[in-house]
Symmetry: C3
Subunit: 351 residues, 3 copies
């Protein structure tokens, strides 16, 4: 039996306003295509307006004034946030499991907090510290002298190399590897000599790391992901990098060694940054772009190498028409040569 | 003792035609460089013709009329397919293992089909259903309420998050993670609030997923990989994506959230598509390219952003010569200025 | 109690020269920012000269003549190599663990060398051979008939598919998958038929492979990583590839099937190479670039497609200014038209 709420209750829950029937009963939240009359759906991306006009949903979450005729509306100043909160209301997170599996392997001197869950075949090595209400999924490996803060969840098969620090309320998805050796070699006469990697990985509070993402330990200093930063799947963060708080790294992006990224920055999918850069706060790097220079605060860049986003866009428009541009230049050359001839001038300048 | 076949038997097996000695005895299949007189090799890529002329192979699989002097030939309309079938003939797949390891962890209410194999340290959580003849490799984690169809093989260390559906005859390589949370956040005053990810991952029949590839669950709807699609290593398929049947995603490619890719499409290596796109059937995206717009059926695109493949190629040719083009434009400017002077015109237009 | 050395002892250890007080006591090595008077730091990247001038470090490793006023100096011809050696001196590697965990799973006919360590929940299948002093981390899976050479270390959760060969003194980081099926399909009438992948992965001596990197087995021949090559995280090496000795593949780079890369080559981050290429020795491919053609020895290339690095750089400079170049061409066209008119010529040439 799903939960049911009146539309006005939902509006109160998210601080929004009802346009239409405040007593309409809503029993869930669904996509525009799948919602029926007892469901609320949402229009947060104008791309889907046509679909919104045809939806059978009983109500829609919309931005103020973003209404769609024929539906009861829940107007919210931040409709996507309202959507997230109603999802939680209808689907509260499952209770965390509790207890230590007898088929986990727990080392000596391990500190386990209250209400911890450790799943089968997890390994926690000597001297590590696991905070209250932490969940360690099946097959995770926490090497020696790590610490994991309260309420952090490690999904199956996460690996923390020795000395890694993870903050509170983090979510680490399957296949994450924290603390692998930074990729540092001193090359002499063609032979690559390994540079010992002695720093740590430090993940602050409220960080999420996507599946199969890797963060390498620093050579001497630490590699740090500051609080509130969210990182998607298959991302690479190299040794000695610092990612400022509340940043976003989308899937398959990568940050090379010793680069610092300021708070509130965004790397879109498959983007990258070279090493030893100083990237300021609030920077946005477009998908598939590559940063090769320091960036000032608030820069929005695109391209390889990344330049100002508008400049890149205008250049791209011309790029597509380069064959035509070249043809035009050739034609002009002919016309100029004809003019020169008509004026009796030699064509010495022709190249 | 390797198997031996007459060349005509091999031709019958693949529906091909012998040019040369039908009774030649063939005891295996090998590369052009390594094959000896009792082996058959193949010439399916014209790049290797010079090598084919020097091979010691006793026979060659070739396309009709694609012969190489001095060898017995097996002509096949689809020589690469014939090659695949002969490989199977000489190297039939090993028998699947059967039985549940005593060191696997099986939850309550798990349904295990006939002749299932579950390897050591695999975890199958409550309520999941494993079809007949399925192989679950060492260290795999199948969370609660998943289903895995008949004859599907999970190689070591595959993770299925709760609720994931995998069809029949699929092959999931090591490190695959299905059902991780979609990368969805509602950002308010710089704080990224997690949007619950409630959809599932649905993998239809006959799908292959490469090592360390990740497919995220949808926010509300499902993320779907349709039947017969083949995905290479380290690929990212984001939340709410649908990949049409019999498509190909090569290594390190990525598809962002809510994008739909039509059947029979191909993404080459390190290619990508932005989110919320409608990419039609039979599309080809060249290696390292990035799709930022909807694509019509049969489009063949390249570049960042991806444009028609021929247009991109022609533009690239000019791109390489941009310094020369600019020099030519400067030279023309000088010549035009000289002409203007000769005609007594002011140079007001010069920029 | 940290180790202490005189500066002259450190200089002797690395074959360098002291400029300043040879008796200064040094108790460790630290970054420019964190080093105190009893620590040695280093200036190997000129980018950090300003920071070096402010450091509190008691001494600095510098290149010959690369001094910084006010510090005792250790001049070394290869300062980064000297830095690596001093790191090892102050932080000798921990002793390798030894012993077979009772919760590991060891198959039949497995050969285990002397002083081997096998961690909990590791699986070694029938017929595999593990050399002396090898470490097999928690949750590793070594399928049947593999061999691992002396002193090689497998960090947690490495997977070797059947038949894989790993040489001596290798370091394989967590999540590495060796021997997954090459991505080979024979497509007939839209259906992708799997081509059996029967070759092996062969990793020679002194190779390092980063976290979650994958190397696929060859179709018939082997995929080979030659000795001394170092590969970073999340790299893809496809079937039938050969990477020459002492090469470098940085994070998220990828090499497509059957391509051969010569010794001493470098692929920077997120770079790639198409399949069936012959890339010679000593090649450098810039970050984010994609090689689509054979390359001669010593080539240094950049771009998509990759061209000579200097050509690419010069073209990029013009690319950014394409809108201005186009505007200039349009202006020239107008000026030429005016000249033509002034001379009484028709404007037939205008396009």
């Amino acid at each position: 039996m799903p939960k049911a709420f009146r539309l006005r209750e939902l509006a109160e829950h998210v601080g929004g306003t009802v346009r239409g029937d405040p007593d309409r009963e809503i029993r869930g939240i669904a996509t525009l295509a799948e919602a029926g009359p007892d469901k609320i759906s949402f229009l947060t991306n104008p791309r889907y307006r046509a679909e919104a006009e045809k939806t059978r949903a009983g109500a829609l979450i919309v931005p103020p004034g973003g209404g769609v005729a024929g539906h009861d509306l829940l107007e919210a100043a931040e409709p996507y946030l309202a959507f997230a909160r109603l999802l939680e209301l209808f689907h509260p997170p499952a209770a965390r499991p509790v207890g230590i599996s007898p088929s986990a392997s727990i080392g000596e001197g391990v500190r386990l907090g209250d209400s911890v869950a450790v799943a089968p075949f997890a390994v926690i090595e000597d001297g590590s510290s696991i905070g209250d209400r932490v969940v360690v999924g099946p097959g995770c490996v926490i090497e020696r002298d790590c610490s994991v803060g309260e309420e952090t969840v490690l999904r199956p098969r996460v690996v923390l190399y020795a000395g890694t620090r993870v903050g509170r309320r983090c979510l680490l998805h399957s296949g994450v590897v924290l603390g692998g050796d930074g990729f540092g070699f001193a090359t002499s006469e063609g032979v690559h000599h390994k540079v010992p990697q002695l720093g740590r990985v430090v993940i602050e509070d409220d960080v999420e790391l996507g599946a199969n993402t890797t963060v390498d330990r620093g050579t001497l200093g630490d590699t740090v992901i500051e609080r509130g930063t969210k990182i998607d799947n298959l991302v690479m963060v190299a040794h000695g990098v610092r990612i400022g708080r509340r940043s976003i790294l989308a899937a398959q992006s990568g940050i090379a060694g010793s680069t610092s990224v300021g708070p509130g920055s965004t790397f879109a999918g498959q983007a990258g940054a070279a090493g030893h850069l100083d990237i300021a706060e609030g920077v946005v790097v477009a998908a598939k772009s590559a940063v090769f220079e320091d960036l000032p605060p608030g820069a929005f860049v695109a391209g390889i190498p990344a330049v100002d986003h508008r400049r890149w866009k205008r250049a791209q428009v011309v790029f597509k028409k380069l064959p035509e541009l070249r043809a035009e230049v050739r034609k002009l050359r002919e016309r100029v040569a004809e003019l020169e001839q008509a004026l009796g001038r030699s064509e010495e300048a022709d190249s």
